[in-house]
């Protein structure tokens, strides 16, 4: 039997790589009996959504073409 630390770790691994059938079954069966891990799975998904959104919001801040040109000129003269 895998413990919560391993199961939640496997869950993150599963988001990045393909994990084996037996690992997926382990996550599923653990999920049925463990409230804390169920909460972790929810929180983990929520954090993915929030982090993606918050960082996406930041990407609206950009330099204008003229600002970039100005910056390049300053750098060339240094």
């Amino acid at each position: 039997m895998k413990d919560c630390q391993e199961i939640t770790g496997l869950y993150e691994q599963g988001k990045i790589n393909r994990i084996s059938i037996s690992d997926r079954i382990a996550i599923r069966s653990h999920k049925m009996i463990c409230k804390l891990c169920r909460q972790y799975f929810k929180d983990s998904d929520l954090m993915d959504v929030i982090l993606t959104k918050k960082y996406k919001d930041l990407r609206k801040y950009t330099f204008s073409t003229s600002e970039k040109t100005k910056m390049k000129k300053v750098l060339e003269n240094n």
Partner: protein, 183 residues
């Protein structure tokens, strides 16, 4: 890589917007962020000889920027601002400091916005407490939206290292956010 070999134009083109988003995640002040990004490029080209090719140039630039942000915070701590002068010196007196940020905002609807903004600050503050390498992983994954292979290559970690870092980072972030009671 020597200074005369580096294409400064390309450097600005490829990394300035990323660095600006990074600075904004910490400073939330657009003019200051732009200034610090420009400073970062200036420092970078004068120190280009110290750049080791084995690390990614973006990671290197980000670390210089990070240094500048910390320096700014140190200076800001001791700076005296006169609240009265700013009271009379508003750029656009017809604009409300928060209500005008959102169209058709009222005191009621703005509350959600404030809560969202507070979550923002808490979130980035909590991310700020993570170890440097983990912060790099988070920024590459969510700000850059890089695929895992690229993150691993760039930050010189193994794929299993990557998910272990993400797992631990999420646990710490959750813990940090929970303590601030914003969930």
């Amino acid at each position: 890589m020597k200074g005369d070999q580096i294409d400064t134009g390309l450097l600005v083109e490829e990394h300035s917007d990323y660095l600006l988003s990074f600075a904004m995640s910490k400073l939330r002040d657009i003019d200051l962020s732009k200034d610090l990004v420009q400073d970062t490029f200036l420092s970078a080209i004068t120190k280009i000889d110290t750049f080791e090719n084995r690390s990614n140039i973006r990671t290197w630039l980000t670390s210089i920027l990070n240094r500048k942000i910390i320096d700014h915070w140190r200076r800001a701590e001791t700076r005296y601002t006169d609240p009265i002068s700013s009271f009379f010196n508003q750029d656009d007196s017809s604009k409300h400091w928060i209500l005008d940020k959102k169209d058709n905002a009222t005191n009621e609807t703005i509350e959600d916005e404030i809560i969202l903004e507070e979550t923002n600050n808490d979130l980035f503050e909590c991310i700020g407490k993570l170890p440097e390498k983990w912060k790099g992983v988070i920024a590459s994954k969510y700000l850059d939206e890089k695929v895992s292979e690229d993150i691993c290559k760039e930050l010189d970690i193994t794929p299993s290292n990557l998910w272990v870092i993400i797992h631990r980072a999420k646990l710490l972030l959750r813990d940090c956010l929970q303590k601030r009671d914003v969930r």
